[in-house]
Amino acid sequence: MPTDLSDFDADLLAQMRDDFLTEAQEILDRLGPLLTQLEQNPSPEIINTIFREVHTLKGAAGFMSLTEIQRLAHRLEDTFGDLRAGKLGVTPALIDLAFDGVQRLATMRADAARGGPGVTEIESLLAQLDAARRGGLILNRAKTGQRVSALPEAEAPAPLTPTTESTLRVEVETVDELLAMVGELITSRNALNAIAERMGDEALRSNASAMNRLTRQLQALVMEVRLVPVERLFNRFVPVVRNLARELGKPAQLVIEGGSTPFDRTVSEQMYDPLIHLIRNALDHGLESPAERRQAGKPETGSLRLAAERRGEMVILRVSDDGRGIEAARLRRVAVERALLTAAEAEALTDEQAIRLIFTPGFSTTSAITDLSGRGVGMDVVLQNVRRLRGSIDIETTPGGGTTFVMELPLTLAILHVLLARVGAHCYALPLHTVRETLLLTKEALQTMQRREVLFLRGQPLPVRRLDEWLGQAPTPASASNGHTQPAIVVSLTRGPEVLVVDELLGKQQMVIKPLGPYLGLVDGVEGAAILPDGTVTLILDIEKLILA
């Protein structure tokens, strides 16, 4: 029966809805691992816990008038009620249905989060659950033909029952405000540092140094608040892998490593879509059929691995499969077939560049890949998403051996590490995550290849661009053509590394990124602005867009 929340004003209603959506997500995140545990080690405690979780979900959904979510949760509750009462036994078939239920609930929740009615097709699942309950399955663990299993992460599993911890629930907005303030503090600190250096006053210097230390610690602490263990994200894929493997008829095992690695909350949420696509890809295209695998001498059950590790201020995520791998030759062929490249251009690519063709829009070799929430997603969108989060993605693959997608993502989005460079009279900032290395060029180092300037770096010809020209400034007198050495920055672009020639390298800096606002925000190639220690404003360049614009 729908409930009438018209007693509340619009703001309050929106907040109620958000609260429900958050709670629902948390419940669903717990259900995946719980069902896995139930499968491996059924016990009355786990059955009861699952019962309570779906019961809570049902109740809360009822208050929000999300009747379809309520219906499915109710049916699951009844099913687990029967399990609890001993009227029904735990079987692989039942667990499969439960996993299916969890995934559909997730789909409905996502739909509601986007402002939709929170519905999806559930009639057949409801019917199956009814049938299962009527049939009164006997308590045994009959092995079916193709077993699909999901392993929990290699580390110790999280405790199921909530212990009385001294924790606090804080609104995400409050944390973001705190982080913004810390950011401003850092800007001030940078300015103070510069003044201290200039004035050479000992007392000022030592205090500025103390402030450095304190702001660094404060920043680290506040950033920690926004961090959640990555397993929260990874666990959401447990039902996904399970259901998809079953659908495709390819038994697959999901292994999760490094689940306790901390990850920025927003980055974590934004990585859901790219990761789901990579996982789907791995299962769909990466893993071979059981027959093919047998022939290749591989274990019939395919292996899928989600791993995370922290490396300084970055988090490295890996999605691996032990399937057929990606062949550079095949991608070259497809590129030519689809008229994306000429045969000569395709030949000229290195293997690394050929494999990265996967990220070209329109390249996907199967038609209409839709992700599980119904939207079309391609590898190019995965790349876009990762780059938008200031991350990078690399591919490691061996034909016949499998593929690993390696993503490097920042621990936080609010503070940007940049490399400052002077071009002419202006100072610009380049996001450090796009910078591979810096060099000093001599006139001899630059060569011409097909009328374009290139630099040979470790045997590879890299295109060279003079930033002064690109930014529309007059070339400065002391340039390489006059025999001086000139600094250059090697940046990683989607299509490979390139060399940018600048006038002076000014060092690394930590900055608080400020969006440009409506007037200037649409300029391609500029990501935002930040305040330099001397108080002037510098533009943060998005090199990829700048060069392609």
């Binding site: 029966m1 409930t3 009438d4 929340l5 007693d7 509340f8 309050l12 109620m16 609260d19 429900f20 958050t22 709670e23 816990t49 309570r52 019961h55 809570t56 049902k58 109740g59 809360a60 009822g62 208050f63 929000m64 008038s65 109710h74 029952t161 909530p162």
Partner: protein, 127 residues
């Protein structure tokens, strides 16, 4: 001002109940399971009075569920007449019957209109 203890393990429902009662002028303290509710009741009960005018109590909760709390509460003389409104769910008649048998003052079936909660609570307090 009258104070109500709200006990429910669902964060969103707890918040909903809190806001509903607070906007109607009640003071609200909440707990997320029976154990926490028991500790809260004890903390605010002394020789002369019970700290709360009424309790709104969900049944299904971890650690200690609503019915267990009900039994424990009614066994203590100081809480024997404390108005307790039980929240039950549709289709679980046995819960409703047990709740009333164990001493719940009244019950409401979830989900319900927030305004109806207020009416029921006020009715509890009137007696």
């Amino acid at each position: 001002m009258q104070t109500i203890l709200v006990v429910d393990d669902s964060d969103s429902i707890r918040k909903l109940l809190e806001v509903t009662l607070k906007t109607r002028g009640f003071m609200v303290v909440s707990a997320s399971d029976g154990q926490e509710a028991l500790e809260t009741l004890e903390r605010y009960t002394d020789r002369d009075s019970v700290g709360f005018n009424a309790v709104v109590l969900d049944i299904n909760m971890p650690r200690m569920d609503g019915l267990s709390l009900l039994i424990t509460a009614r066994a203590r003389p100081e809480w024997q007449t404390l108005p307790i409104l039980m929240l039950t769910t549709e289709g679980r008649d046995e819960d409703r019957e047990r709740a009333l048998a164990l001493g719940a003052t009244d019950y409401m079936v979830k989900p319900f209109k927030p305004s109806e909660l207020v009416m029921r609570v006020m009715a509890l307090l009137a007696t």
